[in-house]
Subunit: 192 residues, 2 copies
DNA sequence: CATAACTTGCTTGCTGCCAGCAAGTAAGAG
DNA sequence: CTCTTACTTGCTGGCAGCAAGCAAGTTATG
């Protein structure tokens, strides 16, 4: 179907030329249609970008759920980082496009800003729950503030991906290992 | 001088309307000149944005140097986070504009991309040195990889700022405190 | 001291590109 | 033969970027 084709064309163009360099006409033509179809289907450039973002985000969510399974606490968070690392290795283009869009969404003129903000909040909520469950099992120190820890964890993930986007040569594998360690140590130790 | 005025107008427009919503004509007129002066002075929109970014980055650098002083090791990193927190409180608009631009620079079509990448590397180099000095004083565990620790630290800072841009209501103060703790714990403890 | 040549700081007119809209075509389904 | 679905084409307005020009100094020259 044309939507799928256009989404794929959009991803490759986004990775090659970025958001500003990607034109609706270019997407239409690369996917074998006319210059006008994209607008007709997705309403606007923002609409298309939101669709691209959301479809990759859905794929990411599926992967995380698959990897985390029924795990909680430290193991759950570590598996999220595992899924992240795997995503970087398996689908660098998709991840790149998604984060390109996500970072662009801080621009007040980006119409899918609210979308991203909501998704971020949902993500933190899931992380918070895993920390709380870890505390319930006595695995994570009671002094840890689950919401705060979740927010910090999410920040590290986002920041790491930003750095990877700017400079793909950073030692992603080693950083992944370091994160796994930090998660275990920081959560098991006690703090205010 | 007109450059200063236009830079200030650009910052306020960036914060209000974002990059796409900020027009060169708008900047010229808000600063009391004609619609064409900005292009004439800075050559292009990218040239202007690079100038705005660099002038705020210079201010940030000055602040960090002032706060860190001759400190090294854990204290140096903690003071960087202090400077960050202070910057968020004192100059949210400037910081916001700078990070808006910095995140936008991952877009391959952004011409000042190289600029930002270079700055990021310089930042990591400074952080690495502080960690190494901490190891020389025996304060930081020898097993810590200074470059890796620096990269992770930088990621946390960038990620936190991204999250703050998306949602200014996150508990910045508490996260700052949590970071200070993590820095001390993670670096003093031993690891592979 | 007067005027000509040049510089600096800024404005205005124009062009090309792109998003978005509106109208239209083509082809299959009922 | 009409309705729907999938797609195309023509057009408009807005913006970046360029080029030409103006106005108010400043320096050089006899």
């Amino acid at each position: 179907m044309s939507e799928q084709l256009m989404t794929e064309a959009a991803v490759s163009l986004l990775v090659e030329r970025g958001i500003a360099g990607t034109t609706l006409a270019g997407i239409g033509e690369r996917s074998g249609y006319s210059r006008g179809l994209v607008t007709h289907r997705f309403g606007s450039k923002a609409g298309l970008l939101a669709h691209v973002h959301d479809s990759i985000a859905a794929e990411w969510l599926r992967r995380v759920q698959g990897v985390v399974g029924r795990a909680t606490g430290v193991a759950a968070l570590q598996r999220v980082t595992d899924a992240l690392y795997k995503f970087i290795v398996d689908e660098p283009k998709g991840l790149r496009a998604m984060y390109l869009l996500r970072y662009a969404s801080i621009d007040p003129s980006a119409e899918y800003r609210a979308n991203v903000a909501k998704l971020n909040k949902a993500h933190v909520r899931a992380l918070t729950r895993w920390v709380e469950e870890g505390q319930a099992h006595g695995e994570i120190a009671a002094e840890v503030d689950p919401g705060l820890a979740a927010e910090l964890f999410a920040s590290v993930v986002d920041g790491l991906l930003y750095r990877w986007l700017v400079n793909p040569d950073i030692p992603v594998k080693e950083l992944h290992g370091l994160m796994r360690q930090h998660i275990a140590r920081a959560l098991r130790a006690a703090q205010t």
